[in-house]
Amino acid sequence: MKVYLDNNATTKLCKEAFEAMVPYLTEYYGNSHSMHRFGQETGKALREARETIANLLKIEADELIFTASGTEANNIGIRGVVRAFERRGKHIIVSEIEHPSVRNTAKDLEKLGYEVTFLKVDKNGLVDLEQLKKSIRKDTVLISVMHANNEVGTIQPLKEIGQIAKGHRILFHVDAVQTVGKLKFSPKDYNIDLMSFSAHKFYGPKGVGALYIKKGTRMAKFITGGGQEKGLRPGTSNVAAIVGMAKALEVAFKNIKEEYKKEKELRDYFEEKIIEKIPEIVINSKEVDRLPGTSSVTFKYLEGESILLSLDFKGIAVSSGSACSSEDLHASHVLLGMGIEEEFAHGTIRFSIGRYNTKEEIDYVINELPPIIERLRMMSPLWNEFKNN
């Protein structure tokens, strides 16, 4: 059996989106900014896709620019406003557990002469609103906090953060890559000025994302070129992918509540069973509002890569917070930021359930997982030390 439980990394393109894309990969290929009919055909598709997404998110079409990814949306959004607001101040606030596309952008801004406050999170990954308030300075121009964390699923109190930002007339950027298409909300609900999202997280194509920019927000250009996307994201428009994104979001919104419920039930069932069957594990962020399909499990005294590969051998795809499976050999900054000891961060596995997972698949994982953990623990000197004490 093949069981894909890495839906927070990327999802399978849904059939509806694929079918919507095909005409723009075959028949209609004109540059959507050209005046001729070939361009008008794709120009119309581009306009309609923008309107579809805007309607679903209850924003105006004019407030949306398409990008090539969530990463690019984060870069354009954050770098665009800090440069535009340079004269007002050079201090920004970001949470400690942001995705690398925000975190490394903030770190790069430090090198470029900006000051960054990294907001601490508690053991469930929630930012501390009191620390946020205390961190605000006269020269603070931007607060950037992700909606839901990709590793543990923790959902941040955006409403409260948005109110704080608004009260201080500070811009508020949200990396909503993990929530758009999974939770039903509008950036208008939370006083968000800029919001990034990415199609491949909600069964749309890879290579396309978007940035919501609240009307009237001053932006400097980050990437420069022609006039596409208000000059903020130049380059020939990738109409096929944009059409696919709009269709995928439409499909996601159609059953958004049922889907939420289904994923949560599967996830809760999974957690209940493995807690029953496997000793010495911790479910991270279990006490707080989380993404419905995300389960971050720490298997104490084990290293994640070995769990990941053993599961893969059984056809089960997951991801790990271990340093050993990361490119830079550092343990996940998210888990460490939540105060999880390094030793345990290594043994943390993310199971992320998505639309196409079934109860049968989850049962399969529930059966395969315990012997894998047992086998690896038998080999682990740490486990044996623990057992002997």
């Binding site: 005294y301 084990l302 290293e303 890569e305 070995s306 590969l309 053993s310 051998f313 271990s322 340093a323 050993c324 499976s325 490119e327 050999l329 343990a331 000891e341 390094e342 030793e343 290594h346 038998m378 080999m379 682990s380 000197p381 740490l382 486990w383 044996n384």
Partner: protein, 124 residues
């Protein structure tokens, strides 16, 4: 990143896992917070490694290098075992991804530590 078949074989079916009660040589190397730790147990007669067992906490590469290095020293003279390098271990596994080469040092160091322990005991 991709592992060779041999790495996967030694990872999925590691040889000589376990402990030896009252070993003649014992070594433990590594640090849990770095994500790797290995312990190795030796039974030695007449300077020949008669039995070897290990336990490892770490990635697939750490477990596979532990496994194959125990095979490489079993039946060898102590002096020969000391000559097993991490490079030789990696080669025996048909190579390791570059970012995983460091894991192979773990096995080499653990063997050295166990043999040192043995030599110390012997000289006392």
């Amino acid at each position: 990143m991709q592992y060779s078949e041999k790495v996967m074989d030694h990872f999925m079916n590691p040889r000589n896992v376990g402990v030896i009660e009252n070993p003649d040589g014992y070594g433990k190397i590594g640090n849990a917070s770095c994500g790797d730790m290995m312990e190795i147990f030796l039974r030695i007669e007449d300077d020949i490694i008669k039995d070897v067992k290990f336990r490892t906490f770490g990635c697939a590469s750490a477990i596979a290098t532990s496994s194959i290095s125990t095979e490489m020293i079993l039946g060898k003279k102590v002096s020969e075992a000391l000559e097993v390098t991490n490079k030789a271990v990696a080669e025996a596994l048909d190579g390791l991804p570059p970012q995983k080469m460091h894991c192979s040092v773990l096995a080499e160091d653990a063997i050295k530590a166990a043999i040192e322990d043995y030599l110390k005991k012997k000289n006392n």
